[in-house]
């Protein structure tokens, strides 16, 4: 059986398994086993992929398979992965594995919760392995629906409102994507012949320039909304603040990456001329996004808000780097996606755990937690250091690749914005240290917190998994970077060879 089919099949089977469990213990056990198997399958996929590349398989996509689904519109189930998709799948597996353990104690409608969560993940896997625009879109939509339920039912605070806002804004984005995809479809055979949704086939032809100009903004902004592109990022603070822990982790860690991934795989890869022509608009928007998100984070007091704005800043960097359109910067963008996915998941997991103990997320009401819950506090500091780009952790590798790559542009505009964006590392340090200082260090502020319990085994498992992943990328980034670069070659070549007008 194709390994990719397996990746989608395992979560589906897990969902069915969860349906047959009796109580919350059974549900979480089945989910954990299912996602553990999924993680092993992912490791196998990574190894198989690297081995296949080593034997010299030079195709753009590996492990491909193709079923016709709806012949009259030429819709296929076309699967396949390249290095970037493999990396994103790895990210997803790690985050969901940690996410299951982070929601280990959830006891309200547990079965339904895990089913929705795994449904969401199934859709994410489907999205990353799709080579067909239509099925890609299908999975994209599928990922959004459970999100509404997960936030609306299991969230905290003004959860219904936030869920509504998040879903509606993302739905608006997907409407734009729909237009973009249909535009691609109807222009996919400029010389006559059957129309196609297949990404690889479309990438081999040139969509008429007029059509590109019209449809590129639709696809790019559509995906950009999910990637927290300024000014369409406002779903993120509310949504993340209200979502339950595992959902925040998954949403910030993986779902926001769908946006970035779609931006380059669909919008930029398939409409390169328009991308080149309009890049400057979005570069300005993302530059604002990066600096603005970081500044906003300084003034927040809610841990989740801080993190949501920090996500806006970091995800802005992803799209910023993508738009630089050279190999190094795009490599940095993918690294940043993975790095941000891991560390933001770690952050949200920790925030959930701290909230579960102190019942507040307001940093003004907490202080000196280092003494009380040293394990969680130390991990929080590691996450913070990763976020502000400490060498040896993943954030540094990603940010430096982005900065060096972006600065290689001959054009002065690109270099100036790079410098502006680079200044965000200082602002990031400010808000991270502010949080660390107020939350963890100093004397204990609230005596009720004096007897909190430190992390339990499942919380340790959840956070240590993420920390190890963050550190692994930070210490030995070369293999990951090389894998990504190899897969970026066709995309970069295509972007480089088009003639800008």
């Amino acid at each position: 059986m194709n390994i990719l089919t397996l990746l989608v099949l395992i979560p589906v089977l897990t969902m069915i398994g969860v349906l047959f469990t009796k109580d919350y213990k059974g549900a979480r056990l089945v989910s954990a086993i299912g996602m553990g198997v999924e993680l092993i399958a992912t490791v196998y996929l990574v190894l198989a992929y690297l081995a296949a590349r080593k034997t010299g398989m030079m195709h753009e996509m590996l492990f491909t398979s193709d079923f016709i689904w709806y012949p009259s519109l030429n819709i296929h189930f076309a699967f396949g992965v390249d290095g970037i998709a493999v990396a994103m799948i790895g990210l997803t597996s790690i985050v969901i594995f940690a996410g299951i353990f982070a929601s280990w104690e959830l006891q309200f409608l547990t079965k339904e919760f895990f089913v929705s969560l795994i449904l969401l993940v199934t859709a994410v896997y489907g999205f990353f392995i799709s080579l067909d625009l239509f099925t890609m879109f299908l999975f994209y939509e599928l990922a959004l629906i459970p999100m509404y339920l997960l936030i609306g039912l299991w969230g905290t605070g003004p959860k219904e409102k936030s869920a509504m806002k998040l879903t509606l804004m993302l739905m608006a984005g997907s409407a734009l994507i729909m237009v973009g995809i249909l535009g691609l479809y109807y222009n996919s055979a400029p010389g006559g012949g059957p129309l196609t949704f297949n990404i690889i086939e479309i990438s081999k032809i040139n969509i008429p320039v007029a059509a590109q100009r019209f449809f590129f903004p639709f696809a790019f902004i559509g995906f950009g909304i999910l990637g927290a592109l300024f000014p369409f990022h406002t779903w993120s603070p509310d949504g993340h603040a209200s979502a339950p822990t595992a959902v925040s982790m998954l949403h910030a860690g993986v779902l926001m990456k769908l946006g970035g991934y779609g931006c380059f795989r669909v919008a930029m890869f398939l409409m390169p001329q328009a991308a080149k022509e309009m890049a400057w608009i979005f570069i300005i928007l993302t530059t604002i996004s990066v600096v603005y998100g970081a500044f906003s984070a300084i003034w927040q007091n809610d841990l989740k808000f801080i993190n949501a704005y920090s996500s806006v800043s970091h995800c802005g960097l992803v799209i910023f780097a993508l738009l630089m359109m050279n190999q190094t910067a795009m490599d940095g963008a993918i690294l940043q996606m993975i790095s941000h996915g891991l560390m933001t998941a770690l952050f949200f997991a920790l925030i959930g755990m701290i909230y579960g103990r102190t019942h507040t997320r307001d940093i003004r009401e907490m202080g000196g937690l280092m003494k009380v819950i040293p394990f969680l506090a130390v991990v929080y500091m590691i996450a913070g250091f990763a976020s502000l780009g400490l060498p040896g952790l993943s954030g540094f590798v990603a940010e430096m690749t982005v900065f060096v790559g972006s600065f290689q542009h001959q054009d002065i505009f690109h270099r100036v914005v790079t410098v502006i964006v680079a200044s965000s590392i200082v602002i990031t340090a400010v808000y991270i240290l502010k949080v660390v200082g107020m939350l963890l260090l100093g004397p204990l502020k609230d005596q009720h917190h004096a007897h909190l319990e430190d992390a339990k085994w499942y919380e340790k498992l959840s956070t240590v998994t993420l920390v190890l992943a963050v550190a692994a990328i930070g210490i030995a980034p070369l293999w990951l970077s090389d894998t990504i670069v190899a897969s970026l070659k066709p995309i970069v070549t295509r972007l480089a060879t088009v003639i800008p007008f």
């Binding site: 806002k165 509606l168 804004m169 000014p231 369409f232 406002t234 779903w235 603070p237 509310d238 603005y292 500044f295 906003s296 300084i298 003034w299 927040q300 704005y309 190999q327 190094t328 000196g368 280092m370 003494k371 250091f385 502000l388 780009g389 400490l390 060498p391 040896g392 540094f396 590798v397 430096m400 690749t401 900065f403 060096v404 790559g405 600065f407 290689q408 002065i412 270099r415 790079t418 410098v419 680079a422 200044s423 590392i425 200082v426 340090a429 400010v430 240290l433 502010k434 200082g437 963890l440 260090l441 100093g442 004397p443 204990l444 980034p477 070369l478 970077s481 090389d482 670069v485």
Partner: protein
């Protein structure tokens, strides 16, 4: 030339110690971590000495000391030419720094066994010390600018962790944050400098950058931005990075506050090793700065000169003994920067470069000694303030003697180490810039004055009534003091001019009596002034302070730089940038998005009115519509 592979252990041992004591330390008795760390450091120290011995005194060719890279791996590849490698570069300055870092670190490890005894987090302390040592060693042996930047950041974070070691003390936390953010801000300059440099030259490697007669800067000449050449930008920005770490004016504000950390940490990080990283960076890039960006070199000289004067003036008025030492560190770092700033390249011209490295070495020894001595005093008195001390010479004989040696060394009294290195700096300054020479000359006097003010105030003066009799420190603390005192006396006789020079070729120096005699005299004058004012308790200093009035207050408050920075960060950045942006996001952008939703809802209410549910209305609309279409069709067809 591959005989140096073992040098990799010099940096791996501290790393392993960090991981071992960090992860397992809490399970053991605290002292185990300390001893383990100390033994590890001892091995690293021995290896460094072996390296230095065989590098400097082994065989080397007629072309001077060559750079050796015994180990290098690819870490991350950006483009074909821009590759971050992790490696070890052995050349005169890095070997010297290896010795400095491991020596001081080893001494501090031993010292802390006594000093930190019984403190909570003993294992954590040793683990952070190992982390710092690892990072600092990685920094000095970096083969390329990016590796240096990586370890530069690690050094910054370990400094943050160690300053904030007493994390339950709000002032320590604030100081740690301040140190990190200020240096981080400077690091941004460093980073942008690296970006520009790599853009212009297409390489990170020091070997390629500093090669004599290299052509990689050929394309740089035509590049400029805002009327200033690309290389000047790059080097100036890089210097900002160095200035941040080395606490040059105006980025000096974090260093005095950093004294909130445990005293051994201050000795190791904030006196002897980390703060000289900026000087080391400038020395490392020296050929590039000297040939490609002469304007930057000017800046370096003046910043260094100003900082040394500025800090010396402030040091006179302080009462916290660690802060006095911190300002004295600033002042001495200013000397080193200035010396690099006035140096030429090659042979006798490169005197400033040699002098700077020489001073770095001797300063590390006597400043570490001063801090460890201060630690010993604080250990005995349980206070940092000079007002609480006096007459301690009877209680702390070892500390007293070693402290005196260090004070003499820093004041530049022969034959102590500081005299030789400071003298070379003054000679170099005299040759290139008379103004700066004059400044340094005054600073030499000020240094002697404030150091002896400290010395007399602590060890002589009025005998305080101590709660319990101060007692001499244990042997673990005394041995490092004695060793460093030995170094402070004799390290001045090391033949630096043969070993560490700008073009790696030895040259001859001779003591210029025309410079040496006045500088010793002004040192003695400073000491004499301090003798008169502070040896016996007297009211003269207080009166003098009063007569200086506002000037004294300003100096005492460090010219209000902390307040200015606080104003800028708290008021301007937090209140006038961050807050409006956060507000803007919630009330404009988010409100706009919510507004779209609300408008849709309102409109739908309006439209709903049309859907009355009255069949007749629909029928009417239907018929009317049909008629309208029919009529328009007829009209069109006619």
């Amino acid at each position: 030339m591959t005989g140096y592979t073992y040098t990799i252990f010099i940096i791996l041992i501290p790393l392993v110690m960090f991981l071992v004591t960090g992860l397992l330390g809490m399970k053991w008795k605290p002292i185990v971590s300390g001893i383990l760390g100390t033994i590890g450091m001892g091995i690293a120290w021995t290896l460094s000495l072996i390296t230095a011995g065989s590098y400097f005194f082994g065989t080397h060719g007629a072309e001077g000391f060559q750079a050796i890279i015994p180990f290098e791996i690819k870490w991350l590849q950006f483009t074909e030419t821009l590759i971050i490698k992790m490696g070890i570069l052995l050349d005169p300055i890095s070997v010297m720094m290896l010795v400095v870092v491991t020596t001081i670190s080893f001494m501090v490890h031993i010292y802390s066994l006594g000093y930190m005894k019984g403190e909570g987090g003993f294992a954590r302390f040793y683990s952070f010390l190992s982390l710092f040592t690892f990072a600092m060693l990685g920094l000095v042996i970096a083969t390329n600018i990016f590796q240096m930047y990586i370890f530069w950041e690690l050094v910054g974070v370990s400094s943050f962790l160690l300053i904030g070691f007493y994390y339950q003390k709000p002032s320590a936390v604030a100081a740690a944050k301040k140190a990190f953010i200020v240096t981080r801000f400077a690091d941004l300059g460093f980073l942008i400098g690296i970006l520009i440099l790599s853009f212009v030259t297409g390489t990170f490697d020091f070997a390629k950058l500093t090669e004599p007669g290299t052509t990689i800067f050929a394309s740089a000449a035509s590049m400029s931005f805002m009327g200033i050449s690309a290389m000047t930008w790059a080097m100036t920005l890089m210097f900002i990075g160095g200035a941040g770490k080395s606490a040059m004016f105006p980025l000096h504000i974090w260093l005095p506050d950093a004294m909130e950390g445990p005293t051994p940490v201050s000795a190791l990080i904030h006196a002897a090793t980390m703060v000289v990283a900026g000087v080391f960076l400038v020395a490392r890039m020296f050929p590039v700065i000297h040939f490609q960006a002469p304007a930057t070199q000017e800046i370096i000289a003046y910043v260094g000169g100003f900082t040394s004067l500025f800090a010396a003036v402030i040091a006179i008025t302080q009462y916290d003994i660690k802060r006095i030492l911190a300002f004295s560190t600033l002042s001495q770092l200013g000397y080193m920067m200035l010396s690099l700033g006035v140096s030429g390249y090659g042979g006798e011209e490169g005197l400033g470069y040699m002098a700077s490295m020489f001073h770095l070495f001797t300063h590390a020894m006597f400043k570490a000694l001063l801090f460890l001595g201060a630690g010993s005093i604080i250990h005995a008195v349980h206070s940092n303030l000079m007002q609480d001390m006096g007459g301690l010479r009877k209680y702390l004989p070892i500390t007293h003697i070693t402290f005196l040696i260090a004070c003499l060394a820093i004041s530049g009294i022969p034959p102590f180490a500081g005299f030789f290195s400071k003298d070379e700096i003054l000679v170099a300054a005299l040759e290139h810039n008379k103004l700066l020479f004059a400044v340094e000359y005054i600073v030499a006097g000020l240094t002697a004055f404030y150091m002896f003010r400290l010395y007399f105030g602590v060890f002589w003066g009025k005998d305080q009534h101590y709660h319990h009799t101060p007692h001499e420190s244990p042997m673990t603390m005394a041995i490092p003091l004695m060793f460093l005192a030995f170094m402070s006396i004799f390290s001045g006789f090391l033949p630096f001019h043969n070993l560490i020079t700008s073009d790696k070729m030895g040259f001859e120096t001779h003591t210029d009596l025309m410079v040496a005699i006045p500088s010793v005299l002004i040192g003695v004058l400073g000491i004499a002034m301090a003798w008169i004012l502070y040896k016996k308790e007297s009211v003269v200093p207080a009166k003098m302070a009063k007569s200086w009035g506002i000037l004294y207050t300003a100096t005492y408050n460090k010219f209000y730089f902390d307040e200015i920075y606080l104003f800028v960060t708290r008021k301007i950045i937090f209140n006038y940038i961050s807050r409006p942006i956060a507000w803007f996001d919630r009330h404009i952008i988010d409100a706009f998005m919510v507004g779209i939703g609300l408008v849709t809802e309102k409109v739908s209410y309006q439209i709903k009115g049309m859907q009355s549910g009255q069949l007749q209305h629909y029928a009417f609309a239907f018929v009317a519509g049909t008629l309208a279409i029919a009529l328009s069709m007829i009209y069109l067809l006619m």
